[in-house]
């Protein structure tokens, strides 16, 4: 079975994020004064084959630990759902 894993890598709260500060300043400049905090991270999507959601989640966590994130500065979060293959996806309703 194929799963779609979305991994969100974010800087740990204690790590200074100059990109986030710059984006926040830009948003303030554009008039979005209500923005109080911006943190910039990474979004990685993976298609992964596996028997169950639990086993795939375990494998993706291992990928995060070994490569996708740097444990010194980054945290990660995994979102997992069954991937719908293009060939079996329902066709959009006719216009």
């Amino acid at each position: 079975m194929r799963f779609l894993a979305e991994v969100v890598i974010s800087l740990k709260p204690v790590v200074n994020d100059p990109q986030g500060l710059t984006v926040r300043a830009g948003l303030h400049q554009l008039g979005f004064a209500e923005v109080t905090e911006v943190r910039v991270g990474k979004h990685i999507t993976l298609e992964v084959d596996g028997d169950s959601e639990a086993s795939v989640r375990r494998r993706v966590a291992e990928m995060c630990e070994r490569l996708l994130r740097n444990p010194v500065i980054e945290d990660y979060r995994i979102e997992l759902r069954p991937a719908i293959e293009a060939s079996t996806a329902p066709l959009p309703p006719p216009a």
């Binding site: 790590v15 200074n16 710059t22 490569l67 010194v72």
Partner: protein, 237 residues
């Protein structure tokens, strides 16, 4: 003696390092990232550049190169490993050194002369320097801000493993003027065995008067001295 100089796809400072070694009258040996053989060199340099295009994170992919397995073993057995710029980033990703290098606080790529104070001469890489000497050595990086948690930083300081700190030209604290915003102005650190050095500045670009500074040569000379002493020790009855 022989300096091995690693070459990953995207490395560009390897020839400058080779030149510095040759100016001193020693041999440089290129080490290809796919090879495992270190060719019996006395010191491995991981030079600057953008290995594997800095994909994912700087140094994150180079860490898995076959060559790095040999470098890990070499370092574990006490071999001298010297990471410069991208090489420092690789050493942190490979956990041969603690901490990480993140985006410069200015968000700018900084390419300029930096002033480094030698914080310890008790390393094979700084033994020929005067204690507290201020060296003019260029930096050239966008992600050189050294970070680690406070206990790690305290341990590095307590064990005198901070090799270089960014300072003002007169050797006084640099304040907000460091090139990258490194915590405690750290520019270079050594491993607990003191045989692995990581530094962001480029001593190979301060290797001849023509380049504006020869201060980087003090580091290359230190390594030559250290290796000569070790060989003498090994050869002794």
């Amino acid at each position: 003696m022989r300096f091995g100089i690693a070459v990953f796809p995207g490395t560009w400072s390897d020839r400058d390092c080779a030149r510095a070694v040759e100016v001193l009258g020693h041999r440089s040996v290129p080490l290809w990232h796919r090879d495992r053989d270190l060719g019996g060199v006395d010191c491995v340099i991981l030079p600057g550049g953008f290995s594997y295009g800095d994909h994912l994170r700087t140094g994150a992919v180079a860490r898995f190169a076959p060559l790095m397995e040999s470098v890990q073993e070499f370092a574990a057995s006490g071999g001298l490993v010297w990471g410069i710029c991208n090489g420092f980033q690789i050493l942190c990703e490979a956990h041969l050194l603690p901490g990480a290098l993140t985006r410069n606080v200015s968000l700018e790529f900084r390419c300029e002369t930096a002033w480094l104070r030698v914080e310890t001469v008790e390393t094979p890489f700084t033994r020929a320097c005067d204690p507290g000497a201020v060296l003019a050595i260029p930096v050239s990086h966008g992600e050189g801000r050294y970070v680690a948690d406070a206990p790690t930083l305290d341990r590095l300081e307590a064990e005198r493993r901070v090799a270089f700190r960014y300072v003002a030209r007169d050797g006084l604290p640099v304040g907000d003027a460091s090139p990258n915003g490194s915590l405690r102005d750290i520019a270079g650190i050594v491993s607990d065995g003191r045989n692995v050095l990581g530094m962001m500045p480029h001593p190979e670009r301060a290797a001849e008067a023509l380049l504006g500074s020869e201060d980087g040569m003090q580091l290359f000379r230190s390594v030559v001295e250290a290796v000569a002493e070790r060989s003498a020790f090994v050869a002794a009855p």
